[in-house]
């Protein structure tokens, strides 16, 4: 287990894994922020005028969400295969 953690933290092959972890952390933080903004002020005022701050956070959140949902599985799989290949004699 310790070797696996060390590999994930230091190996060049594990770089996609570290990037994926950072993306997920950023995504979760953005989700909390956007959920808060959407609940407290909404994307639009009752009369329909947009709240630009909430809209901007929402746009960044959605892009991050798409990257996480489509990209993170790929990054994890890529790092895992590279890690296994690097350990083979």
């Amino acid at each position: 287990m310790r070797a696996l953690v060390a590999w994930a933290l230091r190996s060049r092959d594990a770089r996609p894994l570290r990037a994926a972890a950072l993306l997920v952390v950023a995504y979760l933080a953005l989700e909390r922020l956007f959920a808060h903004l959407a609940r407290t002020e909404g994307l639009l005022s009752p009369s329909g005028a947009p709240h630009m701050g909430a809209l901007a956070v929402g746009a960044v959140y959605l892009v991050t969400r798409i990257v996480v949902r489509l990209g993170v599985p790929a990054m994890v799989a890529y790092a895992a295969v590279r890690g296994v290949a690097a350990r083979r004699p």
Binding site: F34, A38, G48, L62, V76, A77, A85, A86
Partner: protein
């Protein structure tokens, strides 16, 4: 020729694994709740219903307070209407919920019927209010959205207020008379403009009124069905024209997915055959990629940008057409189509559950209301 180096082979294998993982995991991740919605999972429906009921309570509180910036107009009308329809569909699917939900259905339906909700229509008709001109020839079809919600409330709630029921009867009688007099099966929403989707809402409102009161509307509904098939559907694409001349039936806009998908939902209340024909047109316009599905906005030979009806149009597919198409997909048992459309809805709709409530983050109250109605569609279908 030298063999490829081991490191390049490892990279290629890793790349293939990455693509495979994305192709398998992303649709699974975004579609985890698709089967639960399709199967009518009560807990899931209740959690979105709870968010919509909480919105209505907040809206009541905001209305009681002095404020200038009120939630009213077309979007508010549709929000209250769709909440009423979604809650009513849950009550029909789970009769044990009827006592709890019927007053909530009535509350939302009555709000959709407030005069300030239809201000946009009164302005378009140069000050003529729909309820003050029932004897007149002008269509005012936009108010059918409220009429349909009121009908569902009357169907479920024995305590529905009688004075409003009488107004509802009068509105339905006016719609029936106007539709029977129309040579195109269309009645105007705004001066000179008719929307087949709005007229489908009129037909739905008439049909549900018949179910709630026992009134016989078979003649007008049969005429509407025949004229939808003959005049309103573009034969080449299978989609309805978004906007038409009410009197001459000439198209004023393209055949479009957003109007067709919502018309298919409304048609289901009135006539299953019309709903099926419209849905068949929609499925011909599904685009799918990587396990995700979406409905193209424009029929073949037409193109355009997004507008207030379609929402953003990206790569030819529209937000509204895709979201609205969930209803006919679910109602007609198109499980695979529903799953693909739901994955896209989940990816962009970003549902978040907390405190026993589910909400779709970017959509706000109208997004939650629309998805409540679309994701629970089925029990409202005409017998």
């Amino acid at each position: 020729m030298a063999p490829p180096s081991p490191s390049w082979v490892a990279r290629l294998v890793a790349l293939a694994a990455a693509l495979l993982a994305s192709r398998l995991v992303a649709p699974w991740w975004c579609g985890r709740d698709a089967s639960r919605w399709m199967d009518g999972d009560r807990a899931l429906a209740d959690s979105l219903a709870a968010e919509c009921v909480a919105f209505e309570a907040r809206d009541d509180a905001a209305r009681a307070a002095p404020a200038r910036d009120r939630f009213s107009g077309e979007w508010a009308l549709v929000t209250h209407q769709m909440i009423a329809l979604g809650l009513a569909q849950i009550a029909l699917a789970h009769p044990e919920e009827r006592v709890r939900l019927a007053p909530e259905v009535t509350r939302a339906a009555l709000k959709s019927f407030r005069p300030e909700m239809r201000d946009f229509g009164t302005r378009a008709w140069r000050g003529e209010d729909a309820m003050a001109s029932l004897a007149g020839p002008h269509g005012h079809a936009y108010l059918a959205y409220s009429a349909l919600a009121l009908g569902m409330a009357r169907l479920l709630d024995p305590a529905f207020p009688r004075p409003v029921a009488r107004q509802h009867d009068a509105l339905i009688a006016a719609y029936e008379r106007r539709l029977l007099a129309s040579p195109t099966g269309l009645i105007e929403t705004y001066p000179g403009e008719a929307y087949p989707t709005d007229t489908a809402a009129v037909a739905a409102a008439i049909a549900v009124h018949g179910r709630a009161t026992g009134a016989d509307h078979a003649r007008v509904l049969a005429r509407w069905e025949a004229l939808v098939e003959a005049r309103q559907i573009d034969r080449a694409s299978g989609l309805v024209f978004q906007r038409m001349g009410a009197l001459d039936g000439r198209p004023h806009d393209a055949p479009r997915g957003s109007g067709t998908a919502l018309a298919a939902y409304f048609a289901g209340f009135a006539d299953r055959a019309v709903a099926r024909d419209l849905a068949d047109g929609l499925w011909r316009h599904e685009s799918s990629f990587w396990g995700f599905g979406a409905i193209r906005e424009y029929g073949e030979g037409y193109s355009g940008a997004g507008d207030v009806d379609s929402g953003p149009v990206l790569l030819g597919v529209s937000v509204s057409a895709t979201g609205f198409a969930l209803a006919p997909a679910r109602a007609s048992g198109q499980r695979a189509v529903f799953a693909r459309l739901y994955r896209t809805t989940d990816l962009f709709g970003a549902p978040v559950a907390s405190g026993g409530r589910l909400r779709f983050l970017p959509g706000g109250p109208i997004g939650n209301a629309l998805l409540l109605a679309m994701l629970t569609s089925g029990p409202e279908l005409a017998p």
